[in-house]
């Protein structure tokens, strides 16, 4: 059913028009990687602080308050460029397990980040000191770093595995 939907989408006038413009996919992917840079570098800075790695700098609540809004903005760009790539090459995306694994992990890590941001907003002083920081902070840091790494890996591996499934 997914395959027939992908085939239908690939034959719509919009998709065909985009397929004919050979610059669209590389350009969209380039913007996609720039947005991944904002999201992943921000996540790393927050998670390293939660894990207590690295030199001192901004507190957990300062980092989260500054960087998480940028992560949401970048995620909006990722969604838009992701849609462009999916509409242009629907079969490649929909038949590939790496694509669905990626989408699932994006939903999980987004919900986690939302809950984390809310927890920090509600009780900044406790989160800012290593001694009073909730234990979930370290779990969040490890899980979200691993999820983002896996999301990047799945994204790249769509390109290398899709032909195995057609």
């Amino acid at each position: 059913m997914l395959r027939s939907f992908a085939d239908w989408l690939a034959h719509t006038p919009l998709s065909r028009m985009m397929q004919d413009q050979l610059w669209i996919v590389p350009t969209s992917q380039s913007i996609h990687i720039l947005a991944v840079s904002i999201v992943f570098a921000s996540a790393c800075m927050i998670n390293l602080r939660l894990l207590g790695v690295g030199r001192s700098g901004r507190t957990v609540s300062e980092l989260s308050g500054t960087l998480i809004p940028w992560m949401w903005r970048a995620l909006a760009v990722l969604l838009l460029t992701g849609i462009i790539q999916t509409v242009t090459e629907p079969v490649r995306q929909f038949v590939t397990p790496a694509y669905w694994a990626k989408m699932t992990m994006i939903v999980i890590v987004s919900v986690m980040t939302m809950l984390y941001a809310r927890a920090v907003r509600r009780n900044s002083p406790a989160w800012d000191s290593a001694s009073s920081r909730p234990a979930q902070g370290k779990i969040f840091a490890v899980l979200s770093t691993l999820l983002w790494l896996a999301i990047i890996a799945c994204g790249r591996f769509i390109a290398y595995t899709w032909s195995l499934y057609t």
């Binding site: 992943f40 030199r55 700098g57 901004r58």
Partner: protein
């Protein structure tokens, strides 16, 4: 030895064949190395953008510039080294093709200019940072931030386009 002879020689190295996937058991080397390269480069580009956006007054305005650079730039350099190691491996796979690829050349032109821009900033506006650290950066620092942002965008763009054109 000319650049062509050198590139041809690199292509004869066993590591080149392994990254290319020409040796049995190495078929997945290129996608894996490329994924590691992407993971590292997103940290490079994202962390540099944090500093650039601060210089431009678009983000992290409540943190002093020196505080931000002390916190962020060690990770930038670490990630840059990781990206350079995996990038060099990718380069060896088809060195003779990459040296003649326009996008590849433009990528390194952008990175070279970004290095010059960084040095000009470091030995220029940064020397008087005590005067503007916590407030509005001077025009020369803003220009450095904008140029850096544009050049690293170029590095990411031309890097991704190399994959489509080489």
């Amino acid at each position: 030895m000319s650049i062509n002879e050198l590139a041809a020689a690199i292509r004869e190295w066993p590591i080149s064949a392994a990254v290319r996937g020409d040796i049995p058991g190495t078929e997945w080397f290129f996608p894996i190395i490329e994924t590691l390269h992407v993971m590292a480069l997103t940290v490079v580009a994202g962390s540099i953008a944090m500093v650039d956006l601060r210089l431009l007054g678009l983000a992290s305005r409540d943190s002093a510039v020196s505080r931000l650079t002390k916190e962020v730039l060690p990770w930038t350099w670490t990630a840059w080294c990781v990206a350079a190691v995996f990038g060099t491996l990718l380069f060896t796979s088809r060195a003779d093709v990459y040296v003649h690829n326009l996008q590849f050349q433009l990528k390194f032109a952008c990175m070279g200019l970004a290095a010059i821009n960084m040095l000009v900033f470091h030995f220029g506006a940064y020397q008087q940072i005590a005067r503007w650290d916590a407030s509005e950066p001077p025009a020369s620092a803003k220009v450095a931030g904008l140029i850096s942002l544009l050049l690293w965008t170029g590095v990411v763009f031309f890097g991704r386009w190399t994959g489509f054109t080489a």
